[in-house]
Amino acid sequence: MVARTPYARARGLGAAGTGTREYWILKLTSVAMLPLMIFLGGVLIALRDASHSEVASALSKPWIALPLFLLILANALHMRLGMAQVIDDYVHSNGLKKFAVGANLFFSYGLSAAALYFLILIGLRG
């Protein structure tokens, strides 16, 4: 028999059971995204009346494409970890949780990969 209180056994176990690494990545990506999101807003506003060829040539410039590339990467990690918290909090049935965790991964990384693909495609066409 081990003399441990229920509190000692529960301590450090949130809904997910672990998470220091996830917490830190969530914070780092949030700091990275603050200037990058402002940059995206600036790009969208600057290009709002531009023609297709102007938009395509702007997005193929490295100094515009690279921050957007980094934004997509940081956002992919951030959105997956953020939604993982929501799943941990609200989805309790084991089967549904596995499905939600998988769907979250496919949605976050799948769409981010698609965004990177189109960004590269635009860049390669010049």
Partner: protein, 134 residues
Amino acid sequence: MARPSRTVADRPISPHLSVYRFNWTMAMSIAHRISGVVCYAALPLFVIWLWTIADGAETYDRLRALASSWFGITVLLGLSWAVIHHSVGGVRHIVWDTGTGLGDPARYRWAQGTLIGSLALTALLWLGVLIGGF
């Protein structure tokens, strides 16, 4: 030293929606989560934007027409508020992570400031775009 086990039942239970009473930090916590989920759900729009540019002028012009309709502007207005609110909320969380602003009046001021800040920044952004012409 272990407490007698009979005190276990008297401990406060984990707070949940039905146990909380309304306050500003709770409201902004919920708003942070909702705005985050809205941003999450909006990623397909970002991908569609890049796809139409990659696809060609005809496809991109169709997206532009949709985006500059009242429906499109309403969606973009709501989405920009969600992004801004989540960003301001993120700054507040990082300030709180340092241990500052957690005192009794301070944490409610920070929570109120999040809503006021996100509304003000969104209004400034759209006034600038629609009227100011930048």
